[in-house]
Amino acid sequence: MQAAQRIAEFARVLRHNGFRVGLGETRDALAIMASPAGARPSSLQSALRALFCATHSDWEKFDEIFSAFWHGRDMRTAQVVSGIGTPRASRNVGEAKAQGLGQPDHAQRGEGDAAGGHGRREGASVAENLATKDLRHVTDPAEVAATHALAARLARSMRARLVRREQVRRRGRRLDLRRTIHRNISHGGTLIELAWRRRKIKPLRLVILLDASGSMELYTAFFVRFLHGVVDAFHEAEAFVFHTRLAHVSPSLRDRDVARAVDKLSLMALGIGGGTRIGESLATFNRWHARRVINSRTAVMIVSDGYDTGEPERLGAEMRRLRRRCRRIVWLNPLIGWRDYSPQARGMQAALPYVDLFAPAHNLESLAALEPYLARI
């Protein structure tokens, strides 16, 4: 049947663009097509949008995809969802958009993906190359691999420590009368066992902003590993990468395959030269992401050397706004590990007043030292 086929095809295009569309949705879409709403394109569009979208980002992408698919098979189709015929490529375009990335990076990705296992090896080697330059004295490939494994493990252990806090408290501060009475019905209403209320302690949420600019190049690969470990393991963690602009990278980091996830990010980190706009990136963060990812139990971890090509005043102002929202700001600066370093960079100077912990991050030990600090928050 014609309509059924078109709907199924449309559902497939949506799926390739990151929508989660199941059989149930497709079936309902057919019902909509058969209903009066299916008669007019405009009402069909809004009905299908309500049905197929599940998140705000879906919502924003939908109209574009819809008009590409239903209205024209001309130029626009080619531009918007370039790969209706080649699903893999179109999926990557979708991801690229979600991350605010340029396309060239992902053209490479597509190839790697198609090559399967080979792509993975390539990804790892990209990371390794970077890591070789990284952590200045680690050069032996085996050592590099060990460093990465350690970074990932460290991230996991940090998470375990923090989450366990939830269960420690046994006794509460207030008596829960209702539960107490309920529990003692078997004693004929005589109160013997007491039930207490305690405040549920939610685990700390960690938001990491990683500077991936040229000046941080030596350390980026290493931190990307760390990032993956944290986001993968922490239930409540979000990661952002910035250079001249800010990109939300948690979704691509959630890829279970470390090499692939890191690969995506390495390409991203590599792709951009030029200066760092910490202030502007923070502004983007404050404006668009902060409200969603930050709650009162959030520690924000900024990993950057503080070399900002923007105005220091801007950075200071944004730091102040950020400070008010979150619980702690930790600034990790790999340069602290260098001999005779003092925070002279103007950007760093502007940011420092709002930083709760200014710590080195040039080796694994310095990262491990953070764990007890985070656990105390």
Binding site: D28, I32, A37, S46, A50, A54, H56, D58, W59, R178
Partner: protein, 291 residues
């Protein structure tokens, strides 16, 4: 009874809810596919109002479950009236234990909470699960189960099946990511701030005393203010407050008294930082643009 889309728009207008076309479609689709509707959007865009309007359209009862951190099944579903049970046990001391038990675990001692209430009504109500993102994930999972089966098991009483299937509206402010399963289950609508025309119509619908010119000016100015870099963007409720204030001051035209605008800005801006950002000059500049 399935209403068609136009019918729903008309009825929404009749209960003085100014709907855009998309939301009318979503509400129609809810009926048509019998799925819950998930509304997302910034605070103050009128998500809760949608549910209220829906209830008014169907002449149904609105049952609201406000979610909060630590909300559990006892507060959402049902609870035994322990005090009364205890009393009953005391007064019947000496009777057969089984009789007592049967007695105290009967409907008389059951306290209905919103979810149970929603499935036990004879006429289908509108169930509004407000700010679902504030509830814990466990609760979300539980809710999902309820939404697919529409039955609840009370260990002492047995299974309670839904008499009628409620219309379910969920709202979320995005303080936490919702599970994919829940999102999949629901229709989705992203509620944005109303555009100028719609907001003006909302003002006039809610505040009959406000004239068209003033309502349009207010809507335009608020729209411009929302584009400024603010910590708390004013919602529709704030606009209405402000419009009421200005109308109360006897204004017919915003240009008439720029001073009054600045002084009443407290209706819109609720933080000190925002107040100091929107200085007199900024307000005047915005006013010059829109009025």
């Amino acid at each position: 009874m399935t209403l068609d889309r136009e019918n729903i728009s008309n009825r929404l207008a009749a209960v003085s809810y100014i709907a855009d076309r998309d939301i009318a479609t979503a509400l129609w689709l809810m009926e048509f596919l019998k799925r819950p509707l998930l509304l997302e959007g910034e605070a103050g865009v009128g998500k809760t109002e949608v549910a209220k309007a829906l209830a008014a359209v169907h002449g149904a009862e609105l049952i609201r479950l406000q979610c909060y951190e630590g909300l559990d099944q006892n507060a959402a579903l049902y609870e035994w009236n322990y005090q009364r049970q205890l009393l009953a046990i005391k007064t019947r001391e000496g009777e057969n234990a089984e009789t007592i038990e049967e007695h105290i675990f009967s409907e008389r001692y059951l306290l209905e909470r919103p979810l149970l209430a929603a499935i036990r009504r004879t006429a289908p109500p509108v169930l509004l699960v407000d700010e679902i993102d504030r509830a814990d994930e466990e609760f979300e999972a539980f809710l999902l189960e309820l939404l697919s089966d529409f039955q609840i098991t009370i260990p002492e009483l047995g299974t309670v099946k839904a008499i009628t299937i409620p219309r379910v509206v969920l709202t979320s402010n995005g303080t936490r990511e919702l599970s994919d399963a829940l999102r999949r289950r629901c229709l989705y609508h992203y509620v944005d701030f109303p555009d100028v025309d719609r907001e003006a119509r909302i003002i006039m619908a809610r505040l009959p005393g406000v004239e068209t010119t003033l309502a349009l000016q207010i809507a335009r100015l608020v729209n411009a203010i929302r584009k400024e870099d603010l910590r708390k963007v004013p919602g529709v409720a704030e606009t209405l407050d402000w419009a009421a204030t200005l109308a109360g001051l006897g204004l017919h035209d915003l240009r008439q008294e720029p001073e009054a605008i600045h002084e009443t800005m407290m209706c819109l801006l609720k933080t000190h930082e925002d107040r100091s950002r929107l200085t007199r000059e900024v307000t005047e500049r915005l006013l010059g643009k829109v009025a």
